[in-house]
Subunit: 901 residues, 2 copies
């Protein structure tokens, strides 16, 4: 043991006792004592039977790791003092050969990091105390088995002698003595092995296994602290976004044994059913076993209650039958803990020779339906209020309620993995082109569209597919964005798979899937499976509806949806959207009967020639808007003018080029030349957005006319309309001014022509850093800002979402970034720009409407940011609307809490 | 005449008299009186013979155009008062039939807008005053010719009766009377025509030609004001970046006539020779002629001086001979004006019946060599100081001194036009591939490399070409940037031309140029010409060197160069660069003997396999740096680690792919698959910059080793070295930290291995908006920032410089933007980001070194901004170093002036 020389830290309290008279910690000291330590102290305060122990604080760990692995000088004194309390309470003495106190030494950080750090059990055993344990338990086999386990564990964790040395010795011994199972070894066998283990330690280290229990204890504490900084733990924290400077606490606790005979047992239980949320006590236990045995699954555990036993048609005895008194005590513990924590708890207990000991309590993990039921029931029971119920549900997990999921019991063969791009599971026959998807679907086949990557011209095939699989692209690739918008399961960027569209083959490592073969994809996990794997349909229970009512009452931000088709719009409303925050008009140009006109627009030589096909597109667009306005019935509908570069509307194959040439009355060479002329090196930064409107104002004019003629018609039909015309990709104020003038002029024309007046707004997307910088000026013209955080992230980072896939994962693994900025808004960079734009925009126009329509609008963490920065609404894909509503409510609660704090 | 009703403006002074007792204006009132009016007033103050007149202020014009074409109510009174002064001074009365005062009414804005606005001469003539003029001049033909000209001009400009009506009448009259030339018409003929003209006005307008001179005057003034807002003038101002709200002044001045007989004359002259700058009086004149006649070039003008006459072997009499006394007076005027304005002046004069009148003075336009000579001479003469000499030279025009230019007298046939991407003129045989360029050049041929667009693999061919022509790309396309860096003439984005590389054809409208045909390009004008057009070699005179000495004494910013080859580095030093601000290491990988290793790096499967070809590249890179360090001899050399996406190093043709496959010991399919895998949708936003270093640290390691081993070797050879290692495309601090640690580790290793210590710095390029936002944090690690304003502009605007060409010109034409942001730094957007980064960076690290290495580093306007924002240096292509030095000096003077103001 190395101690730091005295100093300020000597005044600090490093050790907190529990399970003794005057427990010093509590559940509110999680940051200092870790989750486990804080809850042990809390249970002890509640008077529950907790084996006495002490918690060494997480601050001690930080002191240790940042002072070259030395302990604070005062720790020794504090530790000895607490240890004396344990001895007194438990009636045993650490290192005493007669009534030896044995200890467990366990890590316990602020957040659970299962299996990441080290644990030592049975500490305090040595050649003398093992005899005392044998006498006390009346079971020498148990004592020597415990001792050899301790040597094995301690040598591995603390002394760095590899585990396999000892298991090898055990195997040799069994071979030499004709034994097969560990259970066949008796006390003498274990005793012999203890000797062999001790010899092995000397052989490996040149020094004997420490016999001094105090030395053992310091070694174990140091090892646990050091394990905080082992590579496994560091990586885990990086992956889960946990900071290194939290440190871990160490819990040193009197050992109790569930394997001290038939009156001993160990078990785990949940205060309510964690699968369904039903209010029934639920758990498993094993007679004469250690906690590890329950978890390890070597023996089949027995049901806790008679009801459980009946429900699972078990023939094994329930604890309620075997030890009715202890069970009754456990039920009291359950009631006490649930009333106290006001949440479903996950408990661990041990019964040592008829006495119940509580070893752990924590909030129980639960399925999403269970989480909903628990929350709603507990409000009904008066345990929690509605706000707390809303706080309890993880928005991200709502998703599984909204999509089909794989039957967890079904077998499946995984072909490869990609990104979980759009949740839900789906099976179907593989097709390799959008056209094939449409043909096959037309015949009633269920298909999975498999593409290297999708482009807007695939939209028809994407619509009819059950699921979409791409081998390139990231979470915000075209396939991913469109699939989420349509609620279609999608696995994107499955780089392990290869697609050969010409040969019509999808190949995995050693498997080749041909057109028509069936695969299943799980868009929530990013898995691709061979054949049809059964799925389970989602059910939206009454609890869901109840909770969402509370959610809507709490949240202050509006939630809109990104939608362009009537189907999307209707889905969005069904999911509770309060308007459309982004309607991408270009998606309306890809239908078979429209795309040709659009292509004629592109091939035209001048404005006059362009106006002819544009006039043919007008009625289609008008009808689109009539349907959207009618469905949204007076709710705002934000319509973005044509955004993508024109080459996205041109086909790539020679056949299609020929077809267009014929239709346009020109030759293939001319079409190719035009396509070539339009090709761009960096289309994301090219001739798109409002740049199209500036260079081809007649396109914007047609769109504005379609919007306003639709508005007039729907108004005439007696419905409300609120179009918000959005001008994309503004970098310079004059762009916005020119197009706003155009839009307003057309609006006036339509009102004059029809004699019908209607309200509308003109605004812009803020999606370029330059727009942020001049947001004040822009707000003079724009009535609303909608943050296009997809593009804003691309330009702020200089990072193409289509190309980031090749290295973004390496970035996360190496800890260069914490989160994919296309999934969770980058608050430090992109967020600062949003904040600047909000500030400058509102300063110039106080009633400026502010929203977000990037993919982040459906991400809970990003929604929290939107609330903080004062946006009026978020907009996301229809299937994420419930998630966004919940996240917005939680954000409202969070912000409220901060203000009150 | 319509007057605005009285108000505040009645107190305002609208009219300024000159050429009378108590001239009210002066040269310093240019903004109010326009250039012409201010200088007329100034000459008049100097006591020079200026026909009396008055200037109506530019503010009056603004009042007029912004109040529905009405005059301020007080203008009438002020105008009449000033007119009375003119009458008194000139001894003639406006509208008087005996001694009629005739007036000219001319526009005169703050900046010269030649031919854009309207003028009316001979105003005041009517059926009565024309007789007076005939009597006064003794020349009825002159009087009636003047009158018919006046009617024609006034009817056209003020009354809106088209000019052709009158010229038709004249032609008819000549036909009817068997006359051919105007000079054949006598007084009676003109008188008859005046009648016909007057009748035509009645026919067209239904009302007679105004006989009232005052009505004529108001009409003319209103017409000049209105012409400020005519479409021609608006377009001109947009093209020249002049604001609409300047307005134009109007000069109303007593007419003098150079065509009143043989003792009358008119001429223009320069106080010194505007072509050479030599201190010799220089000009032309015509006897018995009007000013228009000199300019129109109908008659050949006569030389002003006897010396001129001799020099030009003219047989015509010099003014010095014909009118020695008037000439002597003119020489005095010349001396007086040059001493007063302290600059070479461009004068207009008229001699009416033996009396000299000065009609205009202004700073004379001059060639760049003349500008240099004038500035240096005038410092020698004590006329101006060195700072003023430095201020006088337009940095942009220095360029023509540094490159060959086309012989202006040579005939040329223009095939097409593109962007003036890199100055200089060059002729050569057309080749269509970089490989062909190298082959042909190897045989001693001069070639012009013609490509659709260039890519880094063309670098070898670009190096050997005399000139580069591309049909795609903008001012900052790859071709343009590289060509400017190499000082090679380049025309980029010549969209009128088509390139068919397979057929080896370059085609213009009706011309097809094949491989081996000779063309000439003018990179300063962006012109492509058929055949060989003779060029003139640049000469750097002693005046240039003298001026640059003064420049260097004045400027406070350092000027570095962007250079990677020894040739570039040497050129840069010869042009006065004080270091290298950007050495793009990837350019070093394209040599034939290196590219294969680089490709093997790309095709390798893992780090170990990559290290093999990297080890082969190391000696090449080390040698590169040894040469750069040796040439720069202790000056800082900023080296950017590998920046472009890896696919830029892969070839595109099947042959080349096969070659690589063989060399790499794999098959073409594998190479193609890898190339395909590397292909990016938006390479600008892809896997490049420090992202390569994070994912392939062994590449950065090799580069760092090459840099530091070179530093050690040069240090050992007794030379100074100052490498500044630059990490590109940083978006996240951790990227910089990881790579800085790597670089510093390698530096320590090399110092340990060699036992030689040297100084070095590690810093970053600021080229992404996110880097700007976190500049404070970044400065904790970075010792210097270099603003990569090319990429910063791309990301701030969301604008690809490779793709902007298709619409940026339309943007300029439509006035959406004023300047191409890739040429002149966008101060409002990109500039604000630079300012933020400077502020945040310096706040965290006060001695942070700050520079710019984007193309803007060589743009004078941008350099001014760099000075204001406090950068330490600018870096530009070697051929722009003198321009940057001069611009930096002017910026220093400008900023000084502002601070003193």
């Amino acid at each position: 043991m190395t101690m730091t020389k005295g100093g300020a830290e000597d005044k600090q309290k490093w050790v907190y006792a529990f399970g003794v008279n005057g427990t010093e910690g509590g559940a509110d000291m999680r940051d200092l004592l870790g989750g486990k330590g804080a809850n042990l102290a809390e249970m002890s305060r509640l008077g529950l039977p907790v084996p006495p122990g002490l918690t060494i604080t997480a601050e001690t760990c930080i002191h240790y790791t940042s002072n070259a692995n030395t302990f604070p000088s005062d720790l020794d004194k504090q530790l000895r003092h607490a240890l004396a309390g344990i001895e007194e309470t438990f009636g045993a003495r650490f290192g005493d050969a007669e009534t030896p106190l044995l200890l467990s030494v366990r890590s316990g950080a602020r957040a659970s990091m299962p299996g990441m750090m080290d644990t030592v059990l049975n500490l305090g055993l040595n050649d003398a105390t093992v005899e005392g344990l044998a006498r006390q338990s009346g079971d020498a086999r148990f004592a020597y088995d415990s001792y050899r386990r301790f040597i094995q564990m301690y040598a591995d964790v603390v002394l760095g002698v590899d585990y396999h040395h000892f298991s090898d010795l055990l195997e040799e011994y069994k071979e030499d003595n004709g034994l097969t199972l560990d259970t066949e070894l008796g006390a003498e066998d274990w005793k012999t092995l203890v000797g062999a283990f001790e010899a092995k330690v000397i052989e490996e280290l040149g020094s004997p296994f420490p016999q001094d229990p105090v030395e053992q204890l310091w070694g174990a504490i140091g090892a646990v602290f050091a394990s905080w900084m082992n590579q496994r733990a560091i990586t885990y924290r990086q992956l889960h976004g946990l900071p290194d400077d939290w440190g871990t606490a160490v819990n040193v606790q009197a050992m109790v044994f569930g394997n001290m005979g038939e009156d001993s047992a160990t078990g785990v239980c949940f205060t309510r059913n964690p699968s369904t949320g039903e209010n029934q006590f639920y758990g498993e236990y094993l007679i004469n076993a250690q906690g590890e045995d329950v978890v390890a699954g070597i023996r089949t555990p027995q049901p806790l209650t008679i009801a459980d036993k009946a429900a699972s048609h078990s023939t094994m005895l329930a604890l309620e039958e075997v030890m009715p008194e202890v069970f009754a005590e456990l039920v009291k513990v359950r009631d006490r803990l649930e009333a106290h924590y006001k949440d479903m708890q996950d408990l661990e207990f041990t019964i040592q020779q008829g006495k119940l000991w509580m070893l752990q309590t924590r909030a129980g993990k639960r399925t999403t339906p269970a989480a909903l039921k628990l929350a709603v029931d507990m409000v009904g029971e008066g345990l929690i209020d509605k706000a707390e119920a809303v706080r309890r549900i993880d928005p991200a997990r709502l998703d599984q309620l909204l999509h089909p999921t794989l039957d967890p019991d079904a077998e499946h063969h995984i072909l490869g993995r990609g990104l979980p791009a759009s949740p839900g599971a789906a099976s179907g026959k593989v097709v390799f082109t959008a056209a094939a998807a449409e043909t096959w679907a037309g015949k009633g086949e269920k298909v999975i569209l498999v593409r290297r990557e999708t482009s807007p011209e695939d939209i028809g095939g994407m619509h009819v597919a059950e699921g979409i699989l791409t081998v390139r692209g990231g979470m915000t690739s075209h396939a991913a964005v469109v699939a989420r918008g349509m609620g279609t399961p999608c696995v994107a960027g499955a780089g392990e798979l290869r697609v050969d569209a010409e040969a019509k083959e999808l190949s995995a490592d050693d498997e080749v899937i041909k057109e028509g073969d069936v695969i299943t994809i799980d868009g929530a996990k990013g898995e691709v499976m061979l054949g049809r794997v059964p799925t389970i349909k989602p059910e939206m229970t009454g609890d869901f509806a109840t909770l969402m009512e509370w959610v809507d009452a709490i949240r202050t931000m509006e939630v809109r949806a990104n939608a362009e088709t009537p189907l999307d719009a209707q889905t969005a409303r069904d999911f509770g959207a309060e308007g459309i925050g982004l309607s991408r008009t270009e998606h309306m140009f890809f239908d078979a009967d429209r795309i040709l006109h659009m292509r004629q627009v592109i091939l035209a030589h001048d404005e006059e020639e362009r106006r002819i096909p544009l006039a043919k597109l007008l009625p289609y667009q008008r009808q689109d808007f009539i349907e959207l306005f009618t469905i949204m019935d007076g709710l705002p509908v934000t319509i973005r003018l044509l955004d993508p570069p024109l080459h996205e509307f041109l086909p790539h194959t020679d056949d299609e080029l020929a077809e267009i040439a014929t239709a346009a009355g020109t030759d293939v060479e001319t079409v190719k030349a035009r396509a070539d002329q339009l090709r761009e090196v960096n289309p994301m930064l090219g001739h798109r957005g409002c740049r199209l409107g500036i260079t081809y104002p007649e396109i914007s004019e047609m769109q504005a006319r379609a919007i306003f003629e639709a508005a007039a018609e729907v108004t005439k039909a007696g419905k409300g309309v609120m179009p918000e015309v959005m001008i994309p990709l503004v970098a310079v104020k004059r762009e916005l001014d020119v197009l706003t003038d155009l839009v307003r002029r057309v609006a006036e024309e339509v009102m004059d022509e029809t004699g019908i007046r209607f309200e509308y707004m003109v605004g812009t997307m803020i999606e370029l850093p330059r727009a942020v910088l001049i947001a004040g000026d822009i707000a003079e013209t724009a009535e609303f800002f909608s943050f296009g955080t997809n593009d804003l992230t691309q330009t702020t980072y200089g990072l193409s979402r289509d190309d980031a896939g090749s290295f973004i994962e390496i970035y996360r693994q190496k800890g260069v970034i914490e989160n994919d900025p296309f999934v969770t808004l980058d608050v430090e960079g992109v967020g600062e720009l949003v904040r600047i734009a909000v500030e400058r925009g509102r300063a110039r126009r106080p009633n400026l409407e502010l929203g977000i329509c990037g993919e982040h609008g459906g991400d809970p963490a990003s929604i929290h940011f939107c609330q903080k920065v004062g946006l009026d609404y978020v907009s996301c894909s229809p299937y994420r609307v419930p998630i966004a509503r919940l996240a917005a409510a939680q954000a409202a609660l969070g912000v409220e809490a901060e203000i009150n704090a």
